[in-house]
Symmetry: C2
Subunit: 773 residues, 2 copies
Amino acid sequence: MIKDRFSGKLKEMLSSDEWMILQPEYDPEENLKFESLFSLSNGYLGIRGSHEEGGKITLPYLYINGVFDKSETFMRELAALPNWLGIKLFIEKELIGIENCQILKFSRALDMKQALLAKSLILRDKKGRETLVEGIRFVSRANVHRMGIKLYVTPLNYSGIIEVENIIDGTIINFYDAPRFKVKHTYMTANEPLDKDGIYMEVATRDNHLHTGVGCRIEAYKNGKSILKNRMFHAFGEQGVEFGDFDAAEGETVEIIKYVSMYTEREAARYTLHTKVKEEIDGFMVKGFLEELEAHKTVYEEMWKAADIRIAGDFELDRAIRFNVFHLMSTGNENDSRVNVGAKLLSGEEYGGHAFWDTEIFMLPFFAYIFPETAKNLESYRYHLLEAAKANARKNGFKGAQYPWESADDGTEQCPDWTIEPDGSCYRCYVAVYEHHVTAAVAYGIYNYVKITRDLDFLLNQGAEILTETARFWASRCEYVAEKDRYEINQVTGPDEWHEPVNNNLYTNYLAKWNLRYVISLIDTLKKGHSKEYDTLMEKTGLTAREIKDWEIVQEKIYLPRKEGTDLLEQFEGYFKLEDVVIEKYDEHDWPVRPEALKTKRASQTQIIKQADVVMLLHLMGQEFTEDEIRKNYEYYEKRTLHGSSLSPSIYSVMGLKVGDDSKAYRYLKRAAFLDLLNLQKNTREGIHAANTGGVWQTVVFGFAGVSIGEDGMLTVRPHMPKEWEGLDFCLRHRNSRLRITISRDNSVSVKVLEGEALEVNVNGQIVKAVRE
Amino acid sequence: MIKDRFSGKLKEMLSSDEWMILQPEYDPEENLKFESLFSLSNGYLGIRGSHEEGGKITLPYLYINGVFDKSETFMRELAALPNWLGIKLFIEKELIGIENCQILKFSRALDMKQALLAKSLILRDKKGRETLVEGIRFVSRANVHRMGIKLYVTPLNYSGIIEVENIIDGTIINFYDAPRFKVKHTYMTANEPLDKDGIYMEVATRDNHLHTGVGCRIEAYKNGKSILKNRMFHAFGEQGVEFGDFDAAEGETVEIIKYVSMYTEREAARYTLHTKVKEEIDGFMVKGFLEELEAHKTVYEEMWKAADIRIAGDFELDRAIRFNVFHLMSTGNENDSRVNVGAKLLSGEEYGGHAFWDTEIFMLPFFAYIFPETAKNLESYRYHLLEAAKANARKNGFKGAQYPWESADDGTEQCPDWTIEPDGSCYRCYVAVYEHHVTAAVAYGIYNYVKITRDLDFLLNQGAEILTETARFWASRCEYVAEKDRYEINQVTGPDEWHEPVNNNLYTNYLAKWNLRYVISLIDTLKKGHSKEYDTLMEKTGLTAREIKDWEIVQEKIYLPRKEGTDLLEQFEGYFKLEDVVIEKYDEHDWPVRPEALKTKRASQTQIIKQADVVMLLHLMGQEFTEDEIRKNYEYYEKRTLHGSSLSPSIYSVMGLKVGDDSKAYRYLKRAAFLDLLNLQKNTREGIHAANTGGVWQTVVFGFAGVSIGEDGMLTVRPHMPKEWEGLDFCLRHRNSRLRITISRDNSVSVKVLEGEALEVNVNGQIVKAVRE
């Protein structure tokens, strides 16, 4: 058992192996990866799994979702905020730290069940003094403004004075290890004692002057007695450091507790921040560290009841899937509709914490089925930024609402016009100019969210308004080509970014058409049955019957390229005229090998694609295509997809299973589930791949379990269990019920109602009544 | 040749081996030692030999002499000021640095002739890219406000963009690696571009708000063409960072030059600092880096002409002695009479840059004989602080002037009342309470300075005033003991700090007596021949005939303990009654082994002493003792001295030679000369032992060369050449002449006049006329 690597109180506290992600030894080269894997988030903030004692190889970032700043960079990005992890222990000036000492024993583990990070180290310093340092940290989900660290420190072969530095580090900058990109997004407004002791630091973002306060107190106890003495506070520029020491005796354990709180002006008035933080810490200390941890664990218990997927007979994959679910669910915020989920969650700095189409297409289904309040917040986030999307459309010469390719807090386009490569070369980035399908994703997200949650209230009010404005955008984006009597979307990029730009990307055109069609029907529904909502919509949007009429024409005549006379959909106009290069070799992981042809020509000159594009369309709009169409297109494009994006394999896996090709589905899932754990994309140091975590969940639930919602709105379960699995078990919300779905090796399914009413479910083509467990 | 380890232009530039101190390989454990050894000073400031690229194990201190601050520490100490060394080079984010790369070739060398630090490294990064980085740095002595770095950077097996970070680091704090003592002595008042590029940073001391400005510019050239592009300035909190990049090509060398300037409010008004620094850098750039270096070298050429000691036949020792002379002469300041020389020069932080008795007793003779302007400044420093010394005496309940044991800028006592050990234990420090002989050292220093330099003007004016006030102190410090009809100084500590406090320390009592006697005679001289100075003195000091009369009595009746009926002087009253422990064993370096007896008792209970005490008295006041007395006491105390202080061996060496015991003298000199080079005291990381550098010089000149000034004022040379030496050659100033003294193996001496008039010299007992070379 992994917990056997920990001792005493800690061991008793930790969960069994299926919940534990272990770092069994320290390798500096792996440190940044583990910082990402071991990041903790409570939805409000996220902090990477950096070591308390700091070090040379670290990106010790803490982000509060929603605290963005641009300054002299290309885009508004999540500002690295003061890091409160710092606890340095010294014996006579010698740091007890992994980089300074010989490591006699090393274990760190993420306990996903309790959402805590545990460590157990035995470190020997240069003078041979050995210290056992164990501990846990957590960011409370019971109260997102409380977080802390508890260490158990035991001198193993010496007695003496141990010195403590309790640190809040405000020197942190974004892109800390990238000279060209380094940027400081905050300035310091306070670095002072919290109270008679402790530390309080306040920083403000440079552009908007949004203030964030962080405070902490540290205590050390032996046998329940407080023993920290000689406390001194120092403001070392942008570091707040509290010094203290205590007498340590061989074999006796000292407990060190650091209580931390953070607030921003988003939750409390600027002038109250220091008081707010102080009072929160006071309350935390009165409640007690372990009691707060208990409350936090209780919240996670409920979350896991809703979200956990259990696979019998496939231990490692079961745990890896749990890891993906853990990070995705931890980052979702059920309380704040002004934040989204960034492309790296809150675990790393790539993409600046921006929301992409990843949210709607990859992550939203998980939240809609499991945590509908969070899903609603993700939808509401888009509604809050509708005005900005309209301004964006105007700026680009279009009507309606064009959502930005990358979205931060204010809804302006955050995808930079210029990109600088690590080698310093600079190139114009056209993604924001050409890649419009994010607006389709927003529209589709509303449809899908409502389909899953039946949140008609959202649809009839906010949803309809967004869909109207996005439809308006598509209508204005389409060009009428008279000689062909059709509407076209030219100079556009679909999900496959290796062909940029193209004319008439099928995925984009199809979703534009769908958006128009869907909103026309929705408005009709409103008109017929929801006159109040209808009137409001018409008033707000200034929509006229004439405009709707125009939309009818556009959607009818929008060009959808395909190979005439066949079922083969064409990714974009002219795709089939490109050199037809096919993937022929697969490596030892069954991963496609880049065809030889790409050595002499660019992918854009061939039919080789980066990721699911037509197949993505089939995934989203499956009900509008025949099984035959889906299978043929899947087969065609699968042979031409190099999966250059982490967003690709999960979709191919789901669709492969749908058309009966499970040859690669299991391996795709494995790749996706271990993508970050094994650092398969080599960039986990930059953070967890958020879309992939959602993709993993979809692969299991939509792919292997075959969950879908039929046109009749009935939940359908039609599993394709891989031979490796003995059983699969997970929960879903559907309509007003919470269901447990249990699937056996032979694809037989049991659906039980955990909460809410009994309902009918289509299981393997049979309609069955799911009842209470 | 050491310079063969460098290439191209650098190799041509460097000096021959007797001038070079080489670090042949990189060992992190040795880094702090080499930072001290490789520190550079121009008298105005000192900067440790830290690496341009920074690192984990570093104490990258820069001090400007005179910029002190106390804040929450125990004492006013030299404030660590912003470090301007930072130049980081990156290839695609990978730092080209010794801690990050594989070191294929490593050489660093201090070129003492030119006072520059050179390096030559070949570093291979993780991706196998190899870069040759060579360079030099210097702090100009031709213009102490100019300093800079020149690097030669050559990619050996790649071409690409190299990124540069030009850094001024204001995050620096004193006692950086000692959690308990860490302190920030400055606050930042500016971190901004110098001009359209470059960096300007200004900090102020926290107590006195003394501002220091530091600015820099960086340029990169290939074939004479400026190639640095994409410049960006960032203020990262307390770091000023200028980013830039350039295209580097395999095998082509890029020259990077960093021009730096510093000014404080001591030299320029606060509001002019930025402009002053900018203009200085502009002037530096116009003049050119190599041209400024040339001017700097010319100054050093002159300094070496005056100061160099050449020993033939003993290469390593010759170079080690040069190393000591180099650091001592580099730190002396010929322009500023408000600064002294700290116990660690400007090369480390121990003792806070404070002046001790070390200045007068160990360092002053060197400066008086070689750089009399600097010696005069050291004397004037004490005169400037006479009022503070008077206040100090008053505070302690005495009259006259009591100089502080440790002296910074304002002359108040800087020796802390409390000391905290590294393990955190705290004890009361009585040094400032009991150790009064520093006041005797100041008085003796005046006498000795004038004896060597014949600066009668100083004596008759400032000197006489100091001596009067110190005499007054001693008179008030002495207690009359009626039953013994004698004056005593009780509760006092002499140079030997292992007996603290004692009654009637002979060294202290003797020098007090001497001070009184000397000033009485000086006043008499003034009265008889310098009535103006006499009147001024009487008026300034309020001295009366009655007081002088009292002094006569005190000095006559002051108790000088000795073993009655013998020549044996008693270190203090009751010393001979202590258990007589004698050193009996010597280790393989002929170093005394701590006697067994000290395992069960403290040194204070025995006659074992830390350092020269009676022997120090004999060294200073030799002319007042017979040769027999000197020999007997030397022999007695030598057997009881453990040399627990670096101030001890050199004095024993000098005195041993004087009494014909050259058995240990050569080894003592070797130990002293290599003390820092070989880190024999294990604390060279804290800085060069300043007193020891002066002691080394004295051992050679006063000991082996046997130089002294007779009672008739005539220069006497009476060498005791060790068998290891083939010849000894050095220069001195005496009266108004500069002399070259050349000594052969057989102790024959040639004295030539280099500058000034011919004069008579006593050589080996013969009076000879020294004439022009």
